[in-house]
């Protein structure tokens, strides 16, 4: 189990600023090469050309050194499905990339904080993923790697429209900056909708990370920019930072409320969730996420002691189908999965000395 937990990405294992509310910060830049058709209409030969071209740039020792780590370059069609699932569950690659596995590739840095998807919707999608709230650092790194890539690759760029992307909703800066937030107190005090409604007016959008639309399983929300044209990257990133800080303030206030005005009810809920995770024999994904959220809140509020805070980040990823399959070494039928998931959670909790 110990070894398996080390398979997590950097964002899962490390703590970042405001780690009790912000799970991770992510910035993605969409880029295309000039003089090459976009993935939509590219044929196999043209797609392979892009894969080869980017490989030659990324696998260059000089590039890797400047980019801060060794890169693995994977072509999706030659990578086992279970590994692709695991990469998706860690948020390193997207569903869309896997759908186009025949033409797609991904370059991943050893700490998984930097990854480059090739031939997804655009030729290149550079992603930097860091723990906690660190938009400045994340942007700086993304900017630097973008410059490194650009030294060897000719980007499709227009003076008026900026970086040219396959979809006009990404054109201009090509940036999608987002922050994943854990907001259990705002949800339970029913303030979440009010807080989220106000955001639509500043060009930002909030979605539940799991579940559909704004339904948020596990009280996880993703805040990101919607507009990519007409604002500079710095402006977009700064506006995300200040809105995230505001939401953090609200969540902290709500948590204080729970602790001071509503302590017994909160303790009860948190304790029940810990009990279920520690002893249940069967857990479906949705319930697991919900209980993990309660337990993480309990840890943050000091109600639950002895459990590593990172348990939420670890388990929210590792109780997903791909990871379970990796751990138990076999393809699991959906029915079987729920039992295994519960076993995995119990084993993980036994590693810590939790008590209330």
């Amino acid at each position: 189990m110990q070894d398996f937990l080390r398979e997590g990405s950097r964002w899962m294992k490390e703590d970042g600023p405001h780690a009790d509310i912000v799970i991770s910060t992510r910035i993605r830049l969409a880029r295309n090469l000039g003089e090459h058709p976009f993935p939509l209409i590219a044929d196999d030969i043209q797609s392979d050309a892009i894969v080869d071209k980017v490989r030659s740039v990324v696998c260059d020792p000089a590039f890797m050194e400047a980019a801060g780590g060794r890169f693995d370059y994977l072509t999706l069609h030659s990578t086992p499905n279970v590994d692709l699932l695991a990469l998706m569950e860690k948020y390193i690659i997207s569903n869309t990339l896997v759908e186009h596995a025949k033409r797609a590739a991904v370059a991943v840095r050893d700490d998984e904080a930097v990854s480059i998807m090739i031939n997804e919707e655009d030729h290149l999608r550079l992603q930097v993923l860091m723990p906690g709230l660190q938009i400045g650092n994340t942007w700086e790194l993304a900017n630097r790697i973008d410059d490194l890539l650009e030294q060897q690759l000719n980007y499709a760029f227009d003076e008026r429209y900026g970086y040219l992307t396959a979809c006009p909703s990404n054109v201009g800066t090509g940036i999608r900056a987002s922050v994943m937030l854990h907001l259990p107190a705002l949800v339970v005090t029913q303030q979440i909708h009010r807080v989220l409604a106000a955001l639509g007016q500043v060009g930002l959008v909030v979605r539940g990370v799991h579940g559909e639309g704004t339904e948020a399983v596990g009280n996880l929300f993703q805040l990101s920019n919607q507009i990519t044209l007409g604002q500079s990257e710095v402006e977009i990133v700064q506006s995300l930072q200040s809105v995230a800080e505001k939401i953090i303030e609200h969540e902290e206030a709500a948590r204080n409320f729970l602790l001071n005005e509503n302590r017994e009810v909160t303790e009860d809920r948190v304790a029940r969730s810990l009990g279920i995770l520690a002893y249940a024999r069967r857990l479906d994904n949705k319930e697991t996420m919900q209980r993990l959220s309660d337990v993480r809140l309990g840890i943050d509020l000091g109600i639950i002691k002895g459990v590593n805070k990172n348990i939420l980040k670890e388990l929210m990823v590792m109780t997903q189908p791909g990871f379970l399959q990796k751990f138990y070494g076999a393809q699991l039928a959906p029915g079987e999965r729920d039992w295994r998931r519960a076993a995995f959670v119990r084993e993980r909790l036994q590693m810590d000395d939790c008590h209330i």
Binding site: F38, Y91, L97, E121, V171, G172, R176, V209, E235
Partner: protein, 195 residues
């Protein structure tokens, strides 16, 4: 209010469709809106935008709404005009480099190559305005190699603005310094452009 399609989830996408005096109101939840959007554009299913709900895959509700808009825009654009036009393709309807037609773009929501932006330039403006809150010009980062000249030009226009400010503030000495800097940069620009 509940989605009128599935009657299960809350309606978060509200739009009114007016076709030839016939007005219809729609109140849909995100998933039904997406489906409807896909249907309207005869689906290329997953539009894959960056970083929406499930951090990568399905389009954000906001984007599927823009899908609907671009679909409406595209369909309206190609509908009435071409009905009366001659059978061969009109300018601004097909990218010369990759052969994508505007109708195809309106269906899929994606371009085939970088030149599509130039060829569909006229129709692009209203679409970009809608998606990006009124903006149609890039003001952010410029690639350092291929964008070298663009960087200089932007720098010059920023300095000109500053020059005006200095003049207005009667800081004439500083204004003169700026003026000289601008002249130097312009000379460099002229030289590299081979004027």
């Amino acid at each position: 209010m509940l989605c009128q399609e599935c009657n299960q989830r809350d309606a978060t996408v509200h739009f009114t469709k007016i076709v030839n005096q016939d007005k219809q109101d729609f109140h849909l939840c995100e998933s039904c809106a997406r489906e409807k959007g896909d249907l309207m554009m005869k689906g290329f299913g997953n539009m894959g935008t960056m970083g929406s709900m499930n951090p990568f895959d399905t389009p954000a509700g906001g984007f599927s709404f823009h899908n609907l808009l671009s679909g409406l825009l595209g369909l309206e654009g190609t509908g009435s005009l071409e009905a009366q036009a001659s059978p061969h393709v009109q300018p601004g309807n097909r990218c010369a480099t990759c052969g994508l037609t505007y109708a195809e773009f309106a269906q899929v929501g994606r371009f085939g190559c970088a030149d599509c932006y130039r060829h569909f330039h006229q129709r692009l403006e209203p679409l970009l305005r809608r998606i990006h809150g009124g903006a149609t010009t890039h003001t952010g980062k410029v690639p350092s190699r291929t964008g070298g000249l663009i960087k200089k030009r932007k720098q010059i226009s920023a300095m000109r603005q500053e020059l005006q400010q200095k003049i207005a503030a009667e800081q004439f000495e500083e204004a003169a310094v700026l003026r000289d800097q601008i002249r130097t940069l312009e000379a460099q620009l002229g030289a590299s452009e081979g004027v």
